[in-house]
Symmetry: C2
Amino acid sequence: MRAVTGGPDATWDRFAHWAAVLSDLAGAAGLLGWDRETGMPPRGAETRASQLGTLAAIHHRELVREDAGDLLEALGRGGTLGPDEQAMVAWARRERDRAVRVPEALVRRLAEARSRAVTTWIDARERDDLATYVQAVRPVVALKRQVAEAVGGGAEPYDALLDEFEPGARAAELAPLFEQLTQRLRPLVEPAAAASGPALPRRSWPADAQMSLAREVAAAVGFDDEAGIIARSAHPFTGSPGQGDVRFTTRVNEHDPLVSLGAVLHEAGHALYEQGLPERYARTPLADAPSLGAHESQSLFWENHIGLQQGFWRYLEPALRRCFPGAMDGLGADAMAAAARRVEPSLIRVEADEVTYNLHIALRFELERGLMGGTLDVADLPEAFDDGMERLLGLRPPTAAVGVMQDIHWPEGLLGYFPTYTLGHLYAAQLAAAAEEEVGDLDALSAEGRFTDALAFLRERVHRHARTLPTRELMSAATGRELGIEHFLTHLEETYLLPA
Amino acid sequence: MRAVTGGPDATWDRFAHWAAVLSDLAGAAGLLGWDRETGMPPRGAETRASQLGTLAAIHHRELVREDAGDLLEALGRGGTLGPDEQAMVAWARRERDRAVRVPEALVRRLAEARSRAVTTWIDARERDDLATYVQAVRPVVALKRQVAEAVGGGAEPYDALLDEFEPGARAAELAPLFEQLTQRLRPLVEPAAAASGPALPRRSWPADAQMSLAREVAAAVGFDDEAGIIARSAHPFTGSPGQGDVRFTTRVNEHDPLVSLGAVLHEAGHALYEQGLPERYARTPLADAPSLGAHESQSLFWENHIGLQQGFWRYLEPALRRCFPGAMDGLGADAMAAAARRVEPSLIRVEADEVTYNLHIALRFELERGLMGGTLDVADLPEAFDDGMERLLGLRPPTAAVGVMQDIHWPEGLLGYFPTYTLGHLYAAQLAAAAEEEVGDLDALSAEGRFTDALAFLRERVHRHARTLPTRELMSAATGRELGIEHFLTHLEETYLLPA
């Protein structure tokens, strides 16, 4: 174990060892999950699920150990810890307290309900069977409410769920943010859509060339392949099974290179954050972002504030020509950039453009808050969803499969997760504005393939702090701005309404 | 958890759960090890080592739990278990008893000594630094002797180590076997070498084509890629991180396709065994071979009794021409088979041919037995090794790097492992003889690409029994023969001395 000092030695060492074991178990589970999506043969699924269940159960048992509670109390009393060590203890206590507060029987019932709901959801979505979906999600919502009440700590039950993903976030503070954002976004949609350039013509973009371009782009923005790998999967994601080992996947559509390029910049943004976490925090509770919103700010910084700008496509044009000599015929940087920046209200959140995306989230925030607050019943969720889509995006889903049933989050019990995407957009825009002040025109730098200045800015202002600061503090120190929607809206206006 | 009945329900369920948790932990560790060799980026090594250490420690803690001892005792008393359930309890008890007998302090000291010795060995071998090697191996040998004494159960300390890998094996029984084998093998070497055909000319065999041929050959012999994957690594190995998920690697030398083809058949042999274990034994102590010798019999069956015969190369020739149109110029099945069957006394065990291989093992058996019996000091090991090489193979290693220091086994503390290779050769030959009686001429079947009969024979006689029978019993039932050297020698004479 890495030497860490700061407390009465034996107590500290026991704490550090306990935290390292938890980290190792989480890392092992992370690798099993990674492999499930990228390498595992189909028939390995059942046993893999059991293995992940076993690791989760052992992780939970280690987390709630009595003696760990004593250790945390002893370390919390002593005033001899340095700031890093205090932060480690605080994060460990936060995680343990949440786990201890939820009765084991509830944990088990929720795990079963989630597992059943996800299986049911996959099938129900296939058959557009709304009644079955509602029936499967109802117990998950009810049990999540019980979890929220057991965890407590906010003004309303939903707060306890938000707090899991975005520590300190409160529904009453997010509500006005979403309200303003919605009011300002809606009038933007039509003009942005009208100003959009054409989509790419349908051509063949070979998968192998897309994967090698993915590696080239990742390396260009600073991804270190001595400390990570890139693979292909059905849904892009980033994982970090351990210090020095950060992995991400991209999704490849052989008729549209923008799918993978967007995914690569997004996931590389997450991966750069993980690779930028200080090595001394390896196997401690600090080796992560302080929230999902903070993590998402990094992926969206690269995906949108770098990847949707003209400069990036100028830089990329020669590589595109080299990788796709046929498909690029008659296409240039400007056409690619314009296609990447197309705005069009659509039904599916994960395919939404940057202008309409947060309207999808605003709706989900409103619905989740209602479900947890008891003002919305699961039975009324489908209609509320469709009404919201009509109100916010002017589209009524023709089927539930492309409506309320489109996301895994609710069957999976991930209530409170969606709002972190919007926080990511807001923080990313503030970071981009601050980065421009610090390192100059990001677009011009991108055009020269100079991504190091932006990365250095993020390393210094965000990555190196890991979890030593709460997100709001971290971001206001990093950007000199409090959380708000202005920078994001300015970015949208400049990107989508002004002539390029 | 799979439903298993047989004992007083609650006790049995607790036992089955405990065994499944152990299996899950071992499977997770297996995947971490697989990934380390096939995917992990270099900088992930340190944390991966910690994770594997943590999983091993948790596995050990679970294994030696007091309440598991009580369960095993209760299940051992009751006479209501079926034969499968009895075998599960017996295997679990065997593993737990071994673990309980070795004091934790000794386990830790050995783990540290092994880890240090392996690191030292890599470096010492590089620099041909024999003194450092001896110094690093000495404590490993001393601690293994303490382990042997703690475990007990044989007539001499070495027996306890043999028993780990080959349950029931005893040095006093193996010694005459090795002696006869040595006496019969030595006179074979020269004529077999003289009868050898030429090696392949040095040409270019592209790695991609070798990998795709590897997949084709594996599929042909029956490897199910819905339940497994194949990858490339520096050293070939097979792993099974879980039911329905069996993986092997091959090593590719772009100047010699025989390296990979031999490895593919060998590892596919291991993998076919794992894929043939009954699904109902998943996550139980029975989901494995009863010994390493039994496992090795499967790899050697395919590598030598199929892969070194003329028929296999006749079958393979069209695929070889398709994959390597240039390199195969002027080469045919016979030339390939002859090159694969070259015999030549050489220094390195892992590169040895089938005729000389077991002389390398006989030497190691003799030396290990001496080390454990106290008749050979580690300081005298290098000279004893060189003398033995001269006596058995007529070669004196010019450096220790290609002599006593060539294997990882001793630094790694794997004393007692080597003899299982020879047992694998003997069992493989007996199985091949029995298979020929049952399904007909293996060579003729191979020439037609019909490998299913041989596989069906192994599935029926070996694989489906998993660990329900001890190796000796399993093999005598499978082959109608007791363990001996005659079939192996007949195979060698037919393969290497008679004109093809």
